[in-house]
Symmetry: C2
Subunit: 109 residues, 2 copies
DNA sequence: CTCTTCTGCAACCACACAGTTGCATCGTCG
DNA sequence: CGACGATGCAACTGTGTGGTTGCAGAAGAG
């Protein structure tokens, strides 16, 4: 259930999260919605660089945009993270369970 | 407790997981431990490329090595994934909770 | 002992991408 | 209206890195 409108692959999501600057942006957004220009004032990178990162984050559904007058505010979407987290955990658990069963088989030889 | 010998940062972990080939390797390893050469026979990439990927995965603790005679078998460590998953989920939940509280404040104006 | 095969190291190529500068546009405030 | 600040698009640079080939050393298999 909950068909997950857009369902970016786990690797796309991880790829998006595999960048230091992107985390800085997410952290900054965590303290309140902000526009690309506003973020550029707080972070040591250009507005255009931030815009690109925001595009990436938006593509995988980690942020959403809110039009406020002439500026475009960005808001972090935590549920995107949680969804990926659940998927990762499921995979990890499955692997470990498999490993455990193999170990048991080996012990039962 | 369980001091987590190496504690790769979330971004390092995500960076390691942000690669298609690496997931192929993990998937292949999921069906049983294997050496770099063995993996190279199953995947459409060179042994050296696989070796590099395995090094990355090993650095973040997603795989562990097992010496078997002269060859080096690799085994996937699911708990590494689960740990990162928990961290991601915690962050996501915190962000969403913050967002919810802000929304509530706005409604109470 | 010899041949095979598994490993490791190093150099090299090529593409992806983070980051920059520059320009053009458009809304908004004075 | 004019100026400032926000956005968007495009081109360029440079570094990181996924991938390759090549070679040399060790350890089993025959």
């Amino acid at each position: 259930m909950s068909p997950d409108l857009v369902d970016p692959s786990v690797v796309e999501m991880c790829s998006a999260l595999g960048d230091e600057t992107r985390w800085s942006i997410l952290a900054a957004l965590g303290e309140g919605d902000a526009s690309a220009s506003a973020l550029a004032r707080r972070l040591p990178v250009t507005r255009q660089a931030i815009a690109k990162h925001l595009a990436v984050l938006h593509d995988v559904g980690l942020v959403e945009t809110v039009q406020v007058g002439r500026e475009v505010r960005y808001r972090v979407v935590g549920s995107g993270l949680s969804a990926t987290a659940r998927r990762l955990d499921a995979i990890g658990v499955a692997w470990d369970r498999r490993l455990a069963s193999i170990k048991q088989i080996a012990e039962n030889l």
